[in-house]
C-alpha cells in the first residue's frame, strides 16, 4: 500500500507532530468505520443507536468532550488527505456526530423546554420524541408546528458548546495536530480557522442567519431548494426549519447516469452561484447534506459552516480565472495568485511551473467541452493540493480567508467524482462568472435564467 500522505507528514512535521499523526490516524479510522451511518436512507432512525442514547450532559461530555469531538472533526478534515481511505469514505467525509449516540427523548425535550420555554408537546402541535437524524453537534427531530408546518428541529447536545470551547483552547496540541494533517500549509492560520468555524457551528443562531441568506436568495429557484428557518422556534441551541423529504445520496447513486448528471449539475451550480452571486460558501460539502428529488432538483441542508466573502476577497480569484482561462496571461495569473496569498511573492520558480501546478485546479473549466469527473480525477486533484514534495510547496499556502473555500472545493470534487458526473462545466461556469454572464447552456441553465429574470423584477 502506498503511503504518500504519511511520507509527506514525516518530511515536514518531524517528531513534534507524533501525537498529531496518531490522532489523525484515529480520526481517519473513525470516519472509515462509520460510512453506513453517513450514507443513510431517508428513514434513518433505525440507524441511530437509540438503545445507547446519551442521558445526561455528563454522557455528552464523555462522548464528545476531552478532545474526542474536536479530533473526530479533524479526522474528517484529514480524510481528504489520506489516499488509502476508501473513496466512498473520502466522498462522504462523515461528520463527527454520526459516531455519537443520540440523546434520550427526555434530554432532547429538556433542551427544547430550556430554549423555547415550554415542553415540546406544548410548543409543537406534534413532536416526534425520537431523533431521525444526527446533525451538527446535535440531532434532528420531526415536528409539526401549531400552524401546521412540517419542520425539522435540530437540537444541540447540552454542554457540548462548553467542552468544544475548552478543547479548542488547547492550542498547542491542536497546532501539532493540524500541522501534521495539512503539511505545507500554515498550521497557525488553519487552527485559528478551524477554531473559529467550530465555535460558529456551536451557535445555531449564526447558522439560522446563514441558512436564511441562502433560502431567501434561492426562493423560487426551479432546481435549488434551501429550506426556510422558523425564527420563532429557533435559538442558539435549537434550529427549526422546513422539513425536507426526498432521496439521500446513497439512493441517488442507484439512479441512471443521466439523473446523476442532472443532480451533479445542480450541485455545481449551487456552489458556484452561491460563491459568485451571494459571496457565500456552505463549507460542508458532504453528501449527507444533500436531498435529491429527481430531474436535477436538489435540496441543500446544514449551513453550520458558512463563510462569506468580501468583493476584495474574491477579486484576485476572479482575476486568476479570467487571466488563466480567457486571457492566457501567465504573468497576470501568477500575480493574481500572489495577491490572493496562495503563492509567496518573488518565489524562485518559473512562471510556467506555477501555471502547470495551479492550472490543475481549473481543469474542469479550461476547455469548452463535456468532461467526466471521475473518482480518479478528483483524488488526483486532492493529492496535488496536498503534495508537499512539489517544488512549489515551500512557497504555497492557503490564506486564512480561503481555508473554507478550499475545503469545499476539494469536497465538491470528491462528491462529483463519486457521481462520475459529466457536463460541460466550462459553459456552466461561464453562465455564472460575473465577468462573462454567458447564455444558458443546458435546460437547467435556461430555467435558472428565467428564474433570475423574474427575481430581478421582484427585487
Amino acid at each position: 500500500m502506498k503511503k504518500p500522505a504519511a511520507a509527506m507528514v514525516q518530511s515536514r512535521a518531524g517528531r513534534s507532530a507524533a501525537l498529531a499523526r496518531l490522532a489523525l490516524r484515529i480520526g481517519g479510522r473513525y470516519v472509515a468505520r462509520s460510512p453506513r451511518l453517513v450514507f443513510a436512507s431517508v428513514e434513518r432512525r433505525r440507524e441511530l443507536r437509540h438503545d445507547l442514547a446519551l442521558r445526561s450532559a455528563d454522557d455528552v461530555a464523555e462522548e464528545l468532550g476531552a478532545m474526542r469531538g474536536v479530533l473526530m472533526k479533524l479526522g474528517q478534515m484529514a480524510s481528504y488527505v489520506y489516499e488509502d481511505l476508501p473513496q466512498t469514505v473520502r466522498a462522504t467525509m462523515g461528520r463527527l456526530q454520526q459516531t455519537a449516540p443520540p440523546m434520550s427523548p427526555e434530554m432532547a425535550a429538556g433542551v427544547i423546554t430550556e430554549e423555547l420555554g415550554a415542553a415540546p408537546d406544548e410548543v409543537f402541535a406534534r413532536w416526534d420524541p425520537l431523533a431521525f437524524a444526527a446533525a451538527s453537534i446535535g440531532q434532528v427531530h420531526r415536528a409539526i408546528t401549531r400552524d401546521g408546518r412540517a419542520v425539522a428541529v435540530k437540537v444541540q447536545y447540552p454542554g457540548i458548546a462548553r467542552s468544544i470551547t475548552s478543547d479548542l483552547r488547547n492550542v498547542s496540541l491542536l497546532r501539532r495536530l493540524v500541522g501534521s494533517a495539512f503539511p505545507g500549509l500554515d498550521s497557525r492560520s488553519l487552527v485559528e480557522e478551524l477554531a473559529e468555524r467550530l465555535e460558529e457551528e456551536i451557535d445555531y443562531g449564526l447558522e439560522a442567519r446563514s441558512q436564511e441568506l441562502f433560502a431567501s436568495y434561492y426562493d423560487g429557484h426551479p432546481y435549488i431548494h434551501v429550506p426556510h428557518v422558523v425564527p420563532a422556534l429557533s435559538t442558539a441551541r435549537v434550529l427549526t426549519s422546513d422539513l425536507v423529504t426526498g432521496s439521500r445520496f446513497e439512493e441517488m447513486q442507484g439512479w441512471s447516469q443521466h439523473e446523476r448528471d442532472l443532480a451533479a449539475e445542480t450541485i455545481y451550480r449551487f456552489v458556484f452561484r452561491s460563491l459568485y452571486r451571494i459571496h457565500a460558501f456552505n463549507g460542508d460539502p458532504h453528501p449527507g447534506n444533500y436531498v435529491f428529488h429527481g430531474g436535477g432538483r436538489v435540496s441543500f441542508l446544514d449551513f453550520g459552516l458558512t463563510k462569506t466573502f468580501t468583493d476584495q476577497d474574491l477579486a484576485p480569484l476572479v482575476d486568476a480565472v479570467r487571466l488563466l482561462v480567457f486571457d492566457n496571461d501567465a504573468d497576470g495569473f501568477r500575480d493574481a495568485l500572489e495577491r490572493a496569498g496562495f503563492l509567496k511573492a518573488g518565489a524562485p520558480v518559473a512562471t510556467q511551473l506555477v501555471v502547470d501546478r495551479f492550472g490543475h485546479f481549473y481543469g474542469t473549466v479550461l476547455k469548452d467541452r463535456p468532461m467526466m469527473i471521475t473518482p480518479e480525477y478528483s483524488s488526483a486533484i486532492v493529492r496535488r493540493f496536498f503534495d508537499a514534495r512539489s517544488p512549489l510547496a515551500p512557497y504555497s499556502d492557503v490564506p486564512r480567508a480561503y481555508v473554507v473555500m478550499q475545503r469545499i472545493n476539494l469536497g465538491l470534487y470528491a462528491v462529483l467524482g463519486s457521481m462520475n458526473a459529466t457536463a460541460n462545466w466550462r459553459r456552466i461556469a461561464e453562465e455564472i462568472w460575473p465577468f462573462r454572464n454567458g447564455p444558458p447552456s443546458t435546460p437547467i441553465g435556461e430555467a435558472e435564467a428565467r428564474w433570475e429574470a423574474q427575481r430581478a423584477i421582484a427585487v
Binding site: R21, A23, R29, E62, A66, R68, N170, L173
Partner: protein
Amino acid sequence: MLEPLARVYERSVPAEPADDGLFGPGSIVWRVHRDRSFALAGMRALMVQALHPLAMAGVAQHSDWRRDPFGRLAATSGYVLTVTYGDRASANEAAARVRAVHRHVRGTDPETGLPYAAEDPELLLWVHAALVESIETIVQRYGRGLEPVDADRYVAEMVPFAEIVGVPRDMVPRSVEALNEWMRSVALVQPTQAARDAIEVVVDPPGIDGDTRELWHELAKVAIGTLPDWARAAYGFAMPPPEALEREYVRQLLGTLDLAFESLGGVMEARRRIELRTRS
C-alpha cells in the same frame, strides 16, 4: 502497540455470557472499569506494585515481560477485564490459571535476600491493593468521577477480586481509608534495581511508535504526580508541575489516547455490549 490490548478487550467482554459474573451490570466495578482513564490507572498501579521487592522479584524472575512488555500488559488487562465482565465460569477459570502459574513462582529476591512465593497472601494483597487504590484515585481525579461513598463501595465490591486469586476474605480492606492504611502498614517497601528497570520500561516502553510516545510520556508524568507521597519519595521522583496534572488537560490526553484505542476493531463494539447490559 495498542492492537494486542484491543484484541484482548474484544475477547474479554463476552457477547453471550452465561450469567452476570462476579460483580454484575449494576455494580460500581463495571462502571469504574470501563472508564476512559483506565490506562492511566493501570500505569500508576504498576508503579506502586513494583515497590514491593518480593512482588517485583516474582515478576522479574518468572515472567517474560522484558521481552514483550505489551504482551504482558495485554495479558494482565485481559485478566482484569475477564474477571470483571466475564461470567462466573470464565472469571474462575482465569483465576485458576493465575493460581496455577503462581504455584511455581517462588525464589529469593537478590537485593533483600528474602525468600518469596507468589501464593503468599500478603504479596497478592499488595498487588490487589495497589491496583484498587490506583483505579479509585485516577477515576476520581480524571475519570467520570467517583463520589466518596461510591469509592468506598468500589473497594468493598472488589473483595472477591482478591479472593479468587487466594487472599483470605478477611484480610482484604473494604474502604478507601482501610485500604490506604493497610498499604502504609506494609513495612517492606523499597525500589529495588528490578523495580527501577521495570518502571523505566513502563515510562518509556521500547518499540513504541513515535506517534504514541509523546502522549505516553505525558501520561507517565501524571501517574508519577498522583502517586502516594511515600511512593513518589521511595522512587525519588520529583513532583511534576501542576499544569501537567490539571484535570482538563489530562482528560484531553486521555481522550486522544482512548480515541486511538476505541478506533481499533472490536473495542467500540465491546464497550457497547457492556453499556447495553448495564441498561437492560
